[in-house]
């Protein structure tokens, strides 16, 4: 692992993690219901998250961020996964693809223009990849960028874009066709106040209330040449694909955090809820469900941290993240289902957090690549490796 003087020592990280755990329990968890019912993160909580440094934990210290390494980031995401997933969503793209693409592959001027604001949370960055007919597979993308005298003109429609209603900038994917008719996907930095950018009403989702998604329309949006990530063709797309792989570890880590919470909620409930004269925790069939939950949480945690270590060292940047994402997001679905089962009728009532977990975690199997896409990535790369070794 590359340990520069800007890296965070393990000693400091333990305190950061402890501080975050305390913050989540004392400041975020008491607001879970308010976030869900109000479908918004209270402004005071946003401001505290900003002060804490949550908008830039994965962005380098030279840009005002904290500069956690991928393993530390995964551990942090497990903690963040313990509460309303909408809370993490608020700063997810700043640390994720937007921050990573610009800090890793942006031109100096792009870094100077955007990174400090993204790291501090003054700027909300949103990631505009998905379209109606192009979700996990960007090759069928219809949003286009054409060259103009002064730069680029972007037209198209993006769908389910997280944080779009509050975004200051969209990291936008668009197809560029050269004179020879060959097309490639490029990545552009598009300020949300650019003429021609409109954001639709926010979607009514199954869960994760408080995290807003919406359609974004680009109608001949003019951006300067400098909007192309990396300043030349091909750089941004490769960067985005690399960052997406890391993002999968983050989603897997969030799944582990939610699964841990589902288990803890189930345990507390099983220890007090009675059937007849006995607590349900003393029933062996309930104990079996708790055991299955624990096996899921423990194995998921190990898998995430292992994938993060291999990603950081460069040993595995493709298969591992997809394995972790596939396993952990499927695992949390089962653990959440068991949590509802252990709660019985109560688990179907909104007063109990497991009801929310059951709905919230469903998204984890869909975004940043569906489970099916993860299987394709794992399978195709395994075969590729085998063929290369022959």
């Amino acid at each position: 692992m590359n340990m520069s003087e800007n890296s965070v020592s393990q000693e400091d990280f333990v305190e950061i993690l402890g501080g975050l755990r305390q913050f989540i329990r004392e400041k975020v968890m008491p607001l879970e219901r308010e976030i869900a019912e109000g479908d918004a993160i209270p402004e005071s909580l946003r401001s505290q998250a900003k002060d804490l440094g949550l908008f830039g934990y994965a962005i380098g210290q030279e840009w005002g961020g904290i500069g956690l390494d991928p393993v530390q980031e995964a551990e942090l995401a497990i903690e963040l996964g313990y509460t309303s997933l909408a809370f993490r969503s608020m700063f997810g793209t700043n640390n994720g693809i937007a921050g990573q693409v610009i800090s890793g592959f942006g031109t100096d001027s792009q870094k100077e223009t955007w990174l400090e604001g993204i790291a501090s949370g003054d700027i909300v960055a949103s990631f505009a990849l998905t379209e109606t007919g192009a979700g996990s597979n960007p090759s069928s993308m219809r949003t286009k960028a054409v060259t103009t005298k002064s730069g680029w003109s972007i037209s198209g429609e993006k769908r389910y874009i997280t944080n779009a209603p509050s975004a200051d900038v969209f990291i936008t994917f668009a197809k560029v066709t050269d004179d020879a008719g060959k097309s490639a996907v490029e990545v552009f930095i598009v300020p949300s106040n650019s003429p021609g950018v409109t954001v639709g009403p926010h979607d009514k989702k199954m869960g994760q209330a408080g995290a807003w998604t919406a359609d974004v329309h680009f109608d001949e949006v003019a951006v300067t040449e400098d909007a192309l990530v990396g300043g030349k063709s091909g750089v941004g797309y490769r960067a985005a694909m690399t960052s997406l792989a890391k993002g999968r570890i983050t989603i897997a880590a969030l799944a582990v955090g939610q699964a841990q919470r589902a288990l803890d909620e189930s345990l507390s409930y099983a220890a007090i809820a009675k059937q007849g004269d006995d607590i349900i925790g003393n029933f062996q069939l309930v104990q079996a469900m708790l055991a299955d939950q624990q096996v899921g949480v423990s194995s998921g945690r190990s898998l995430v941290l292992d994938a993060a270590r291999n990603y950081a060292s460069g040993a595995d940047t493709r298969i591992g993240p997809s394995v972790a994402k596939l396993y952990c997001t499927e695992m949390v679905g089962r653990v959440a289902d068991l949590a509802v089962q252990i709660h019985g009728g109560a688990g179907y009532i909104r007063d109990y957090f497991v009801e929310q977990i059951y709905r919230d975690v469903r998204l984890l199997r869909l975004y940043e690549g569906t489970s099916e896409i993860q299987r394709l990535i794992i399978g195709s790369n395994l075969v590729k490796q085998e063929l290369a070794s022959n």
Binding site: V8, E11, D12, E15, I16, G19, Q22, F23, K27, Q48, D51, L52, G53, Y57, I66
Partner: protein, 258 residues
């Protein structure tokens, strides 16, 4: 301006707090050690004042065992500029009087314009140390403030009780203590945590305070006996039947609850 905050390390209020039945001292091993939560509010005041007033230095001062270093560092992570920890074998089991004398000596050694303290700790709950320190230093004290205004010359604040609000002021140098009504403290942010390790941190013994040790090294209060809290007795069950209303009322009356 130099503001010294008296930081006390206590067992976590939310955890189980135990006394060592051999020594009568708080058992600090069995629970997490944290900064006293009222002191944290005092730290918040000092740090926010320093953020708005250039040239203000905030010093976190504690008298504790060497293990309190981590706790005192948390004050630096919140934003205090430096830490001073008084550690001395002779201070083991120090009572309120001895604690106040050592803190007063340390404050004279460090120098101060304003001393900030919590009004009472969440473990011992003596509530006397700030007054005792002020007395020893011969400076005015503004006790149990809910709000504070500070300028170069004086400190003013509101001492709020359930019945009255007193508006108090004193010229600097002075001692002030804050109550649990005071503004919520901040969480140490990630950058603060990383910066804390690089901030100056001194560990001093009582010999280094420039005072005659013989008057500082012995407690005045002597513990004669100690006993654990008796186990809780099982409660009274009022069974829901035709008499339950009367039974419940009788129970409440007997215990002077109605």
């Amino acid at each position: 301006m130099k503001i010294v905050v008296l930081v006390k390390e206590v067992p976590d209020t939310w955890g189980e707090r135990l006394l060592d039945l051999e020594t009568g001292l708080a058992d600090r091993v069995s629970s997490e050690r944290v900064i006293d939560e009222i002191v944290e509010r005092g730290l918040e005041f000092a740090i926010s004042f320093a953020e708005q007033n250039d040239g203000t230095e905030v010093i976190a001062l504690s008298m504790a065992s060497e293990e309190a270093t981590g706790t005192l560092r948390k004050a630096l992570a919140m934003g205090a500029d430096r830490g001073v920890l008084i550690v001395d074998e002779a201070l083991h089991g120090a009572d309120i009087t001895l604690t106040a004398q050592v803190l007063a000596a340390a404050l004279e050694h460090i120098g101060f314009d304003l001393i900030v303290s919590g009004d009472q700790s969440t473990d011992g709950a003596g509530g006397v140390v700030p007054s005792a320190v002020a007395e020893l230093l011969d400076i005015p004290q503004l006790p149990r403030l809910a709000t504070v205004d500070l300028n170069e010359k004086e400190v003013t604040g509101a001492h709020v009780t359930d019945r009255i609000t007193l508006s108090l002021s004193a010229p600097l140098p002075a001692m002030m203590s804050v109550s649990e009504r005071f503004a919520e403290p901040r969480f140490p942010n990630f950058k603060g945590i990383m910066a804390a390790k690089k901030k100056p941190f001194e560990v001093l013994g009582i010999a280094e305070l420039g005072k005659d040790i013989s008057v500082l090294d012995r407690p005045r209060s002597i513990m004669t006996e100690i006993a654990g809290k008796p186990p809780r007795e099982s409660g009274v069950k009022v069974i829901a039947d035709e008499n339950s209303g009367r039974d419940l009322a009788e129970f409440l009356k007997k215990n002077q609850l109605i």
